[in-house]
């Protein structure tokens, strides 16, 4: 569940200090991540609570002053997969083999011509982008959130998601393509021709 590192020996006061000063300030990002994963505000709250209690329980695996946000995101993602997703019996719908072979194939360059225009995007002032993101499969949603919203580097994402960096890149590429397709549909419905 939690990455095994050198175990730290913290006093109760130190534990509380880490929790309050390094863990709790990430609550907004954690809640948003939980919400984007579950698409349900109550489930997001449960997931975040559960993550914080686990983080405290395993606090001695956390090295003070290191990347608390990445560590917490990793616990939250694991809780989502192990506890939440299994309960709901939602199997993985994405064929990653296909995603990776496509990414590494010659066909991929044919896709770079944009099918969206920047002016169409600028007119999306409502919930279009959020809805488009939420409509993606959860694993695609996740990489976009981690990268574009939270600004994690590929290496951090690989650790959070337990996948190789190459997979991070291919999944991110596919996710963005799908997001673009969705946004392109919105742009067309807004009256942009050849959007």
């Amino acid at each position: 569940m939690v990455e095994e590192g050198a175990r730290q020996n913290y006093s109760e006061t130190e534990k509380q200090e880490i929790f309050d000063k390094e863990f709790l300030p990430n609550i907004n990002a954690m809640y948003n991540f939980g919400y984007r994963l579950t698409l349900d505000r109550d489930d997001a709250k449960d997931l975040v609570q559960d993550t914080y209690f686990k983080a405290f329980r395993f606090i001695e695996s956390f090295q003070k002053g290191t990347n608390a946000k990445a560590w917490l995101f990793r616990i939250l993602k694991n809780s989502f997969i192990n506890d939440y997703r299994k309960k709901r019996k939602e199997p993985n719908k994405v064929d990653y083999q296909e995603v990776e072979s496509y990414y590494n194939s010659e066909d991929v360059n044919r896709q770079i011509t944009p099918d969206l225009r920047v002016d169409a995007l600028k007119d999306m002032i409502g919930d279009e982008i959020s809805n488009a993101l939420n409509s993606l499969d959860v694993d695609f949603r996740t990489v976009i959130i981690l990268c574009d919203l939270e600004g994690f580097k590929y290496e951090e994402m690989a650790k959070i998601l337990d996948i190789p960096i190459g997979t991070v890149r291919s999944r991110l590429h596919r996710a963005r393509q799908l997001l673009k397709e969705k946004l392109s549909e919105y742009a067309k419905s807004m009256g942009y021709k050849n959007a």
Partner: protein, 88 residues
């Protein structure tokens, strides 16, 4: 583009595709040398230029519009409360 001077070329000698360079640029996963190379490349590659513009706009939109309203106050209170119960 000249492969011999392309700083994106991998250690195994694999030439990068435009798509790969675009993605690395977009996510700031480039060295200053790669960045300079890509910027010069964009001057000659219209699809790359257009794609980069759109990709950057989408990335910014995600950042601006998908960050949510923050965690509900009661969630923070509940966590703090349960933590204080635990200590007793």
């Amino acid at each position: 583009m000249s492969q011999s001077t392309n700083p994106f070329t991998t250690a195994t000698g694999k030439s990068p595709s435009c798509m790969e360079m675009l993605q690395l640029m977009l996510d700031g996963e480039v060295s200053s040398e790669q960045e300079a190379y890509f910027k010069a490349h964009m001057d000659q590659c219209m699809p790359c230029f257009k794609s980069h513009e759109v990709d950057m706009a989408i990335k910014q939109l995600v950042k601006d519009r998908c960050c949510g309203d923050g965690a509900p106050l009661e969630l923070l209170q509940e966590i703090k409360h349960r933590m204080s119960q635990r200590e007793k």
